[in-house]
């Protein structure tokens, strides 16, 4: 009986793909992130524990201790210090990695600004959770409230995607001198064991060159200061240059994803369209793990499509418009928010409205769902679809109203 089920499974449509120069493992999302950091040969890891990120830095500490990873690992005194140290090491020319969550990210907010305005490349994982009153569960309010710090933000749907995105992010970050935050969902992703294809070191090395000494790099032979007072006329130009480079992210991210696909065999895009065509009446707009659930549900609704946002900052406007090109003007968008930022609308609807303004005049419905780690099962998605079709209200709280 067991053998029969096994053989059926292997022969069927759900058969897992095979990748050359990969090892298939079952890993929690956090460990996938740690593996990615190892494969990218990060040199400096300042760390501070915070749930639900802790196992990432625990695993990295273990890797450094047992020689799997040649990096300097330092237990810092706070997330503020973690990011301040990351900044110092990045200026020193090191490839830097760390991870944080919720309070830690809020505490580091000041330094996030400094790192991005210093144009320092690095990749940081954030495992989303909210603030006080205490809650350690999945929520994107922490990272979404940091979307204006000048960092690039990716939201991963799966542990595999996190691993792959971290590898791509180092390339993007080091090309543009903009730091990247790779966001995981707490528990649904961080602590969920999944099938992970871990690429070989050889493959990653072929894809990702070592970090080159950038212009923002301490050079003992050519001393200079970094960050001394910048008068308005110069600061303005700094920001102008940062703005110019931020505008390159969407296109470069797409290019790097295409290159990644050639090496690793897995396809990624900034946004992903599911079942969006002339026949589509409703499109669910999602990020992270809810996407997966929604993907499942929409299979049952031929007139419901799905728009997954992977790159969130800078917001992939071109990609979104392209994704919705075939969507009729009388179709409806339902934005699903696992965040609450104090305004009527959540972050996703705010961004979608900005992206579509003047280009498309689609009706948007905003649905809060899963805030504070509340589970978002298919039923909730179905409720959203039902409500969107039958009782469309501008803003709704799924499972409350």
């Amino acid at each position: 009986m067991l053998e029969e089920i096994k053989s059926t499974s292997l022969a069927g449509e759900d058969k897992l793909p095979k990748y050359r120069d990969h090892e298939e493992r079952i890993l929690k999302g956090n460990y996938a992130a740690a593996e990615a950091a190892r494969l990218c040969r990060v040199g400096f890891i300042p760390a501070y524990p915070i749930t639900p990120q802790t196992t990432i830095v625990e695993r990295l500490s273990e890797m450094v201790a047992n020689g799997e990873l040649d990096a300097t690992y330092i237990n810092m005194d706070s997330e503020h210090s973690v990011f301040a140290a990351a900044m110092g090491a990045a200026l020193g020319g090191e490839r830097v990695f760390t991870a944080t969550a919720g309070q830690g990210l809020f505490y580091a907010h000041e330094v996030l600004q400094a790192i991005s305005h210093f144009r320092l490349p690095m990749v940081v994982c954030n495992v989303g959770r909210p603030s006080i009153p205490w809650n350690i569960w999945s929520d994107q309010s922490d990272s979404l409230s940091q979307r204006d710090t000048g960092w690039i933000q990716y939201y991963g749907e799966s542990a595999q995607e996190v691993l792959d995105t971290i590898i791509q992010s180092y390339m993007l970050s080091e090309k543009l001198n903009i730091p990247v935050m790779a966001v995981l969902d707490a528990f649904y992703q961080s602590h969920t064991s999944e099938n992970i294809w871990v690429p070989s070191q050889k493959l990653v090395d072929a894809f990702l060159p070592p970090r080159k000494a950038g212009a923002m790099h301490i050079d003992l032979e050519h001393p200079k200061a970094f960050g001394g007072l910048v008068p308005p006329e110069h600061y303005y130009k700094f920001s102008y240059n940062a703005w110019k480079d931020a505008r390159k992210v969407e296109a470069l991210s797409t290019e790097i994803a295409a290159r990644f696909a050639r090496y690793f065999g897995r396809q990624y895009s900034n946004v992903e369209a599911v079942n969006i065509g002339p026949h589509t009446r409703l499109v669910l707009v999602t990020v992270s793990t809810i996407t997966t659930t929604a993907r499942g549900v929409v299979r049952n609704y031929p007139d419901v499509g799905l728009l997954k946002l992977r790159l969130f900052r800078p917001f992939p406007k071109t990609g979104v418009l392209e994704a919705l090109r075939a969507l009729p003007d009388d179709a409806v968008l339902a934005n699903v928010e696992r965040n609450f930022l104090g305004d009527a609308e959540g972050a996703i609807q705010q961004e979608m409205k900005r992206a579509l303004f003047g280009a498309r005049n689609l009706r948007m419905l905003d649905f809060y769902a899963g805030v504070g780690g509340k589970d978002v099962p298919p039923e909730t998605i179905e409720k959203i679809i039902y409500q969107a079709k039958n009782d469309p209200r501008d803003i709704s709280w799924a499972d409350v109203d």
């Binding site: 960050g227 910048v230 703005w243 071109t318």
Partner: protein, 759 residues
């Protein structure tokens, strides 16, 4: 609406001033006001801006002011540094804090106001000397420029200044009154102030062009790598430091005019030959002075405030003895005029040497059989051995001075003998009267010393004689010590106390240690023969009264308190006078320099003890000076007697934190009762190591000795040292903090408002 822009330096109070002005205008008549600084990181001294809008209607503009009606310049030095006049409204005006007249700035604006706000603020003690706070004065001036009411402004000003409301109000009042104006006589500013704005100009909005599609490369990282030294902080400076050389008290107090500081420094550097050469320029008797000079240099040495003055005498003595037997060549004779010097004492010999070195043939006429004057006849051998004096006189002779001994010359005789000028320096070798009826019973002290030294004449003094000496000067002391060595029992009677004694204090101490008795506050009233064949001296007890002209307290008799003392011999040693034989037949007042007497056929000059002061050093100084005057006279050159240097560095100018206490190297002096007939020198010299160490105690008052303090403590790296260790202030960067002057140990940096301040 009027728009005013101010330029100042951080710390001058402009931002506060504009805030106060906003309050003032609000009070003046319901104006809408807006005052704000250009936000920056203000540092004292850095250029800053502030803005003030005053309007009759609502102000619909929150940007900086680019086209002001009035520009206020708080600090004139900004004119070179900041484009302060930029954007001035075509009919606008400027108000500048300056001493210059408004016309000076006529090309800057159609109307110019000036006000000396810095001076006003300094006068009223607002701020510090290095950074006067001019804002109150500037408020007064602005009120004046806007033709507004000062009486409305003053209470607001008083309420809003952080300190000194009276002085600030007074500053505003004075500035209001001292504003000068030139240019257009119009009411442009006042109209601007009161005229409401008609309407807002519409803003133009341009679209933004997309920059998407550019390549990923090309991030130009900013680079903070240009030297900060392009920032010339020197223009912050108000007070400027400068290296100066000031006179030290040792030099100014040396009657001989010796450059004490310099020869001490050379000694410390072991440049003994140079040190000796330097002394010799002024003083041909360093060996004598090293032993017998009271050393005004040491008495006035600033080191006394720390521990003890430098032992300059020991240094002189060492340098002199070290230079014995040196090669000496006479200077060439350059002039034909023959000069005679009468008297071979320190003044005469110094003048003779000085004139000989200038190129005159010089002959010295000495009445006594040996040269040296009082050095020879008055100072006992145990203080000044003959060989020391002989050597120094011989050196003068080797330089080409002819000395004729045993010739008592007169001025007229010398003129007849064909001399072209005479220097008279016969000294004071005649004892002064003690003013007692039976004065002849007393022996003249100075004459006794002369007879004993020249001829060994003990004048009947015998072992065990009780001898009374009247007087308190060096002669009395030397007499006492000499008589002691002849076996007598000398007692000195002096009418004041030991503090007032004119004798050198150390000599007094030595005399007492040797056994000379001292009796103070007694004055002789009579001298008689006693029945036993001896003498009776009547003494009046005295007390000290008010100070006299010399500054010493005058002795006053205590009525009815008289006593008698018995003595085998009584010596008078209360002073000497000069012998007028040289001027035979002429009435001459012996003052330093040329003698004014019509009957003289050739120029005659007086010098030395007879004309000036009683010490060897003073005689040497006198000789130096008279030589200069004689030379000028012979050459027909103008001559001005040099006044003594004033304003020597005092102990209050010295930063004693940089000097460690260190004991004076003392010479050893025998202080026991001398054996009869023992006239060997009582004081021994110091050795070279001790001398160098002693010279190292010099504070270098008023002269840079490259200690490094100014360089080491300059926060602004504005002191440059060249390869030879010479120092220069880099005025491009010096902010004028004054630390270098404050930390200069020896007062060799001045810190003043000077021309450099406006460099």
């Amino acid at each position: 609406m009027i728009e005013i822009r101010g330029h100042a330096r951080g710390g001058q109070g402009m931002v506060t001033a504009f805030e106060i002005l906003a309050k003032v205008f609000n009070k003046l008549g319901n104006f809408h006001v807006q005052a704000f600084p250009a936000f920056g990181v203000e540092r004292t001294g850095a250029p800053i801006q502030a803005f003030l809008r005053v309007a009759k209607n609502e102000i619909l503009n929150r940007s900086n002011i680019y086209h002001p009606h009035l520009i206020i310049v708080f600090d004139e030095t900004l004119l070179e540094q900041v484009p302060v006049f930029e954007g001035l409204n075509s009919q606008g005006a400027v108000l500048i804090n300056t001493e210059k007249p408004p016309a000076f700035f006529a090309d800057k604006a159609g109307k110019v106001f000036t006000v000396p706000a810095t001076r006003i603020s300094l006068e009223l003690g607002l701020g510090s000397r290095s950074l006067p706070i001019v804002n109150a004065a500037m408020i007064g001036a602005i009120i004046r420029a806007l033709e507004s009411a000062l009486e409305v402004a003053l209470p607001v000003l008083r309420e809003n200044v952080p300190a000194k409301p009276d002085a600030n109000a007074e500053a505003a009042r004075r500035a209001f009154a001292q504003v000068a104006v030139a240019g257009a006589e119009d009411d442009y500013l006042v109209r601007a102030l009161y005229q409401p704005e008609q309407e807002m100009e519409p803003a133009l909005v341009n679209g933004i062009t997309s920059a998407a599609g550019e390549s990923a490369d090309g991030f130009q990282a900013p680079s903070w790598d240009k030297p900060l030294s392009i920032n010339k902080t020197g223009n912050w400076r108000l007070m400027a430091p400068a290296y100066v050389t000031k006179a030290p008290p040792c030099n100014t107090n040396c009657p001989a005019g010796t450059d004490v500081r310099a020869f001490v420094r050379l000694t410390a550097e072991k440049k003994f030959d140079e040190a000796f050469e330097l002394i010799s320029r002024h003083n041909p008797f360093p060996g004598v002075c090293g032993r017998v000079c009271p050393h005004f240099c040491e008495q006035n040495c600033n080191r006394n405030a720390l521990d003890e003055g430098l032992n300059v005498g020991a240094i002189e003595r060492f340098l002199s003895s070290r230079s014995r037997g040196r090669a000496i060549n006479p200077a060439p004779l350059l002039y034909g005029e023959k000069v005679a010097v009468v008297g071979a004492g320190p003044a005469g010999l110094t003048a003779a040497l000085r004139l000989r070195r200038k190129g005159y043939p010089v002959t010295v006429f000495e009445a006594l059989p040996q040269a040296g004057g009082m050095m020879r006849t008055g100072i006992p051998r145990f203080r000044l051995p003959d060989d020391v004096l002989d050597e120094e006189i011989a050196a003068i002779e080797k330089e080409g001075v002819e000395i004729r001994l045993g010739q008592k010359a007169t001025v007229e005789g010398l003129a007849e003998a064909g001399f072209d000028a005479v220097v008279v320096s016969v000294g004071s070798h005649v004892g002064a009267s003690i003013g007692l009826e039976q004065e002849h019973l007393a022996t003249e002290g100075i004459g006794f010393l002369r007879g004993f030294k020249l001829f060994g004449d003990e004048n009947g003094v015998k072992q065990g004689d009780e001898v009374a000496i009247i007087g308190g000067g060096n002669t009395a002391i030397d007499l006492g010590r000499t008589l002691l060595r002849l076996g007598a029992v000398p007692s000195i009677y002096y009418r004041r106390t030991i503090q007032e004694m004119p004798a050198i204090a150390q000599e007094v101490e030595e005399a007492m240690a040797e056994g000379v008795q001292m009796h103070f506050l007694v004055a002789p009233t009579a001298l008689n023969k006693s029945a036993e064949g001896g003498l009776v001296l009547h003494l009046q007890d005295m007390r000290l009264g008010e100070p006299d002209a010399s500054g010493r307290r005058r002795p006053v008799p205590i009525e009815g308190s008289v006593k008698e003392v018995q003595a085998g011999r009584v010596f008078a040693a209360i002073g000497q006078k000069y012998d007028s034989f040289v001027f035979q037949g002429l009435e001459v007042n012996p003052r330093q320099g040329r003698v004014a007497a019509d009957k003289l056929s050739i120029p005659v000059f007086c010098a030395g003890d007879m004309a000036w002061g009683g010490t060897v050093a003073e005689a040497i100084g006198s000789g130096n000076e008279v030589a200069e005057e004689a030379h000028a006279s012979l050459r027909g050159l103008p001559y001005h007697r040099e006044q003594g240097q004033k304003g020597a560095v005092g102990p209050e100018d010295i930063n004693f934190a940089y000097y460690l206490p260190s004991a004076r190297h003392r010479q050893h002096t025998r202080l026991s009762r001398p054996k009869p007939g023992d006239f060997t020198e009582v004081t021994a010299g110091l050795d070279e190591a001790q001398l160098v160490a002693e010279a190292g105690r010099c504070l270098h008052c008023g002269e840079c000795f490259s200690c490094g303090n100014c360089f080491n403590f300059c926060p602004d790296a504005a002191i440059l040292v060249d390869e030879e260790g010479r120092l220069r202030i880099d005025y491009e960067y010096c902010k004028g903090c004054g630390i270098c002057a404050e930390e200069c140990p020896c007062s060799a940096i001045q810190f003043e408002l000077t021309e450099e301040a406006t460099l």
